[in-house]
């Protein structure tokens, strides 16, 4: 369409761009600038070049935080994405009333993380909490732990909570995708004598490949950016066992007053997130290409045989 006034398109787009530039683009560039300086937020800024980056990479706590977040992502790929997939498969088999299951399982997704964190902090409370109380009632007293205070269990405890929150989300995505699987393909496989379990893994899952890849992308990139749950439940404790990059850099900037250092860590985190995203997208593209080539080969083979 041609605009009635040449300036119109700009007038439509400008407000959005202005707000976005002001609140995101300018700070993004400025953070990069801060990372090259040493600054406490109000005093003098001292240019230090890449020193902050060198320090960050050598910082053992920062390294630990990345290890922790990677562990978190790997575990949540299982307890969120895989469990979500399994749940979707289970729900698929229920003919009537599946809506109730789906609503119940999806509910935690909507809650503010603070609510989840406070609720589960109580569940995990070593002296009055539900988990230890339940274990004691069942006679399993030796299994009680200081869940959020024990360096061995704290990170996993938080992963479980994360799974509780998000499995429903992935279940919903996969359920919608599974519903799209053409019934002829499923029928054909059933006629061939395949059981439900096999059908699920050999027929349905490959067809919803796209949704699975998107889910993995979301889980990974989202995982790196976690903050809320960790901050409220343990804030990096005990002794950095649950420290993740964001909690550490928030502390550096807003508690210790090291704006430059925190900014350098933020930039490193950004690079990791963007790189992870790009890698996953690239993997998808190559897989797609291979898949297409594979399918073309199969089609040619079928033709030749007919």
């Amino acid at each position: 369409m041609k605009p009635s006034r040449t300036l119109s398109p700009y007038l439509f787009a400008a407000p959005a761009l202005a707000v976005f530039a002001f609140a995101v683009l300018v700070p993004f560039a400025t953070t990069g600038y801060y990372s090259l300086n040493e600054w406490n937020g109000y005093g003098d800024m001292i240019f230090v070049g890449v020193q902050n980056y060198v320090d960050a990479v050598a910082d053992t706590v920062f390294q630990t935080s990345f290890v922790n977040v990677v562990v978190y992502i790997l575990v949540t790929l299982v307890v969120e994405v895989l469990v979500g997939l399994l749940l979707a498969g289970l729900v698929l088999t229920v003919r009537r009333g599946s809506i109730w299951f789906r609503v119940a399982i999806f509910t935690p997704v909507m809650l503010p993380m603070v609510v989840v964190a406070l609720l589960w902090s109580f569940v995990y409370n070593p002296d009055f909490g539900l988990l230890n109380a339940a274990l004691t009632e069942l006679g399993l007293q030796e299994w009680t732990r200081v869940w959020l205070g024990d360096e061995q269990t704290a990170l996993l405890a938080i992963c479980v909570v994360s799974g509780w929150v998000f499995a429903g989300f992935y279940m919903t995505i996969f359920y919608a995708a599974l519903r799209q699987v053409p019934s002829e393909v499923v029928e054909a496989a059933r006629l061939d004598g395949a059981g439900e379990w096999t059908i699920f893994w050999r027929v349905r899952v490959p067809i919803i490949r796209n949704a699975i890849e998107v889910a993995v992308l979301l889980c990974v990139t989202g995982g790196f950016q976690s903050f809320d749950l960790f901050y409220v439940m343990t804030n990096g404790g005990p002794f950095h066992a649950t420290e993740i990059p964001t909690t550490y850099l928030v502390q550096a900037v807003f508690r210790t007053g090291e704006v430059g250092y925190g900014s350098a860590m933020a930039v490193i985190l950004t690079i990791v997130v963007v790189a992870a995203g790009l890698i996953l997208v690239a993997l998808r593209a190559t897989a797609d290409r291979e898949g297409r080539a594979h399918r073309r080969l199969l089609a040619k083979a079928k033709e030749a045989v007919q």
Binding site: L7, Y42, D127, V146, G237, F254
Partner: protein, 422 residues
């Protein structure tokens, strides 16, 4: 409209915005010259906030045209970067809350502490407080702070009934304490409750403990960066914390629960003792009215250098030296108002006992005894996190927490600490 018009308008708008923003981003002119008295502090709790607001109203009524702006920040933020940010920004506070110790010296060094000597001698603050109370707040013969509330930041509180039940006397020596721990642990009771998630609760206690062993001077020097931590004396001191761990003195969950939950263990009578400051009194009376509790100062440590030392904090208010002279005058007047007998009583009613409060029925006798403990102590040390550089204090508290949890040996912790601080 033609293009030239629009371009001109856009340019003008951008220009106006830049000028406006530049004006906003202008440098720090502390204080400002309007008639607003700005007061900043961390959050003292609902009850005290009400008292502050009533005093603000009182001041506004007595001073036509003046407004009082009370800024209550989040505690943790205020203590770390909140206050420096405020002081260096626009509309810096004219009066602000501070702790005696290194922090006060820092404010003085940065030029944010007004000399109130004149006000105290002949101005608005004359005869408001007993002159002796200013000894701790005087630096280089200048009175820099008006003290308000003094707290003993750590004693060992105990449940009278529970100790009696297990035939234990309130521990006076270290050996007494360890024996009590053994007896109580065997009986399935937590000997000493601590909620150390934020590191300061046990940090205050254990910091006091090690200071007894190495002496207040060594404690002060190490935390001020004038001496190293890596000495046999410090290792010996930390060694006692190892003993605490070996005798199972502290609840296992100490580093996972915060100070409120730690206190709750004491209130629910799951723990026989609790190491925390004097503010427990009013809280306990509220939460657990049937609890019979009392305190002992930290038990005597073997070979201690400073016997009977007390760990205390004196807090009060500093006037911003960068405020205009008129505002400094008004600030002094406000502080004088803060300390009138009526307002002092209001604070007592809000469960905060100012230094100039006299003994009366509404003040619990345990609080009175704590105040005398502090007043009569020969040696008073400051808790690390309020008396010294925050980074050093953090490292110190973390080291203490690690040894208490049995995670690091005393020797390792001390060496690590020395390295981190250098």
């Amino acid at each position: 409209m033609n293009r030239k018009w629009i371009a001109a308008a856009a340019l003008a708008l951008t220009g106006a915005m830049t000028v406006g923003l530049a004006g906003c981003a202008g440098g720090s002119s502390g204080g400002g010259d309007d008639k607003t008295l700005r007061i900043a502090m961390g959050s003292p709790g609902e009850a005290q906030i009400a008292v502050w607001e009533s005093i603000a109203e009182e001041f506004e009524a007595a001073n036509e045209g003046w407004k009082v702006d009370l800024n209550f920040q989040d505690d943790d933020m205020y203590q770390t970067i909140g206050l420096p940010n405020l002081l260096n920004g626009r509309n810096a506070p004219d009066i602000y809350f501070e702790w005696v110790g290194n922090r006060l010296l820092q404010r003085n060094a940065d030029g944010f502490a007004a000399d109130l000597t004149e006000q105290v001698e002949s101005g608005a603050l004359a005869d408001v407080l007993d002159p002796e109370l200013y000894t701790t707040t005087t630096v280089d013969d200048k009175i820099l702070m008006v003290p308000h509330i003094a707290d003993v930041s750590n004693v060992i509180w105990y449940n009278v009934d529970m100790l009696a039940e297990h035939d234990i006397d309130p521990p006076e020596t270290w050996e007494d304490l360890l024996k009590a721990c053994d007896t109580l642990s065997a009986a399935g009771v937590v000997p000493i409750a601590s909620g150390n998630k934020d590191f300061w609760a046990a940090g205050n206690w254990l910091g006091h403990l090690v200071s007894r062993v190495v002496g207040a001077d060594a404690y002060d020097e190490a935390l001020s960066g004038e001496a190293s931590f890596d000495t046999p004396e410090w290792k010996q001191a930390f060694g006692y914390i190892e003993e605490l761990h070996e005798h199972g003195c502290v609840n296992e969950s100490a580093n996972a629960i915060d100070d409120n939950e730690g206190a709750q263990l004491f209130f629910q009578e799951k723990a026989a003792m609790h190491a925390i400051g004097s503010w427990l009194v009013s809280w306990a009376i509220d939460e657990a009215p049937d609890l019979t509790f009392d305190f002992v100062n930290l038990p005597a440590m073997p070979d201690e250098v400073d016997a009977d030392s007390v760990e205390g904090v004196i807090t009060g208010h500093v006037v911003n030296a960068k405020s205009s002279p008129e505002k400094i005058e008004k600030a002094a007047e406000f502080l004088a108002m803060l300390h009138t007998p009526e307002n002092t009583e209001k604070f007592v009613g809000a469960e905060a006992v100012p230094v100039d409060a006299t003994v009366s029925e509404i003040i619990d006798e345990r609080t009175v005894r704590l105040n005398s403990l502090l007043g009569e102590a020969a040696v008073v040390i400051s808790p690390a996190d309020t008396g010294y550089d925050l980074e050093v204090a953090d490292a110190f508290y973390r080291a203490l927490a690690e040894v208490m949890a049995g995670r690091t040996s005393a020797d390792e912790a001390v060496t690590q600490l020395a390295q981190q601080v250098e």
